[in-house]
Symmetry: C2
Subunit: 348 residues, 2 copies
Amino acid sequence: MNNITLKKLADELNMSPSTVSRALRDSHEISQETKDRVKALADKLDFQPNPHASSLRKNKSRTIAVVIPEIQNNFFSQVMNGVEEVARQKGYHVLIYLTHEDHKREEDILHLLRSGRVEGVMISVSNTTKNFEHIEACQKADLPLLFFDRVCENMEVPCVTTDDASAAFKATEHLIKSGCKNIVFLSMADSLSISCGRKTGYLKALSKYGFANKEKVIECGPDDETNRRKIQQVLQSEDRPDGIFAAVEKFAVNTYEVCRELDIKVPQHLKVISFSNLSAAALFNPPLSTIVQPAYDIGKESAAILFKIIDKKKLLSSEKRIVIPSHLVIRESTTSKQYAKPPVLFKQ
Amino acid sequence: MNNITLKKLADELNMSPSTVSRALRDSHEISQETKDRVKALADKLDFQPNPHASSLRKNKSRTIAVVIPEIQNNFFSQVMNGVEEVARQKGYHVLIYLTHEDHKREEDILHLLRSGRVEGVMISVSNTTKNFEHIEACQKADLPLLFFDRVCENMEVPCVTTDDASAAFKATEHLIKSGCKNIVFLSMADSLSISCGRKTGYLKALSKYGFANKEKVIECGPDDETNRRKIQQVLQSEDRPDGIFAAVEKFAVNTYEVCRELDIKVPQHLKVISFSNLSAAALFNPPLSTIVQPAYDIGKESAAILFKIIDKKKLLSSEKRIVIPSHLVIRESTTSKQYAKPPVLFKQ
């Protein structure tokens, strides 16, 4: 990299390397005149201290890690945007790690991070993560930790989430008020905190409006083809739904694809609502009603709390569990148009 | 972080720290028996070598940096996916930096990176970057560098791009063959390599089909409101276009928004095609014809080339300028339906 070392700078100035080093760190032991001379030459030669030497000395890498399931997802990319904003202001670097929803990869990543490469870790767990030993090991190693979005409820680790249960309740209630009597919930893996929260909200709304016996949860996953088959099956069943509530955007996209294929009209035959941070949802045919999560704010808030922990500031109890509300955006996919006769292609 | 140091490990084993260190690095000077004893205890105590000490010794951080304009963009998030895949296999860490299309931020980031924090940098320049001194400074400092997507043609730096000009030619040709006679190109800043390439392709197609005098380029930018105003203006002008070719997805979204507002029917009144990596483009109303860039492959290929440079392997001349083709996906927004009478709301 840059060839100018502290040693070369010292030789050029006819000073000892330790004097140069202290001058650059603005030590009170060094005179202003010397500091000025050192800094002028350092600027001129574009000298920069070796970050590894400085990290070793201070045991500080000025780096945090963000561990997320995937990046091709509007929610997580907006979170990254918020994290980066706060880290930049604080003069920190951000490492990004993708687990691709794989428990083993997540373990390997956290194992690597325990060695002190970073000063803190923000994580949203993968949907195949069923035990948390790898995260507990980080905790034992005193590595500052924070969960966001997908958390582990049982661990004493600060977390930043949205109000999944209450947002899901409102979404389900909105479907019911738009005339739906048979609502299917397309969920993620049950082990995920957000999946549980969203399911709880769905069930609570069904129960409040007298549909407790109409509960129908279909677990979808990363594979589009499998999801479409499951959705197709339920939409062609005898007891076919008139509303679909998708736990994540991907499943709403799969639903729209199936509806196009089977010529099911949204919202006339089926109403659809989904958690989604896709701004283009308004351009869908028909425009998709969404529950929009405060992704950018979750990223900013998470980074701010993580830096508090890194700086060894005491967290207020309100800062240990931060919940930032989502909001509903109602569009055509759930409006209560006249209910048309279902097309003939449904299986009897 | 982890409290187990090399020193503690050595004390526990009654060996010198240097013996323990050499045993862990599998040195031939150490007997197998000693290695086994050291490794067994290191595993038991979850010892991991200090990465900063090891980076300082080897002058290797096992980290690369990716500098991109933004992450809330399907193209760049798919690129990141490809980069991460290759880096993980190679045992490298990935730092992510966002310039938010700001030249000054880009300069600051590259200044930081020159200090040796990373072994190599991949960059897609911001659309406000008009000089390249900050990148030349990295080059002088012998920092391995690679451009992807948005490159600086005049620098001797390897780059990985798509065939912007030829893909833009095909897109424009497709509009002409679908009946368009008056095609507007919504471009990015002229200083961007990809913008030039795409404009070149657009002009070449106009010229080939006898529309050289119908050239109309509108420069759009990051602000949605400004873009919509510009698009609205041209769509309400006397010489209004019957085709729009958007250089990036964002401008196609702006176009759709304006069409909804003005009740302009796509594709009857206006045909629209755009560079875009949004899979949900198929669900738009109407489904949007797109030029899909090989984003994931650009990410993988870029990382692979960067690692070759880091490992001081000689690049073949074919590896210095890699071009991976994009492909057209034709959907309803450009099909040649019967041309309907334009709505009355157009200004005369």
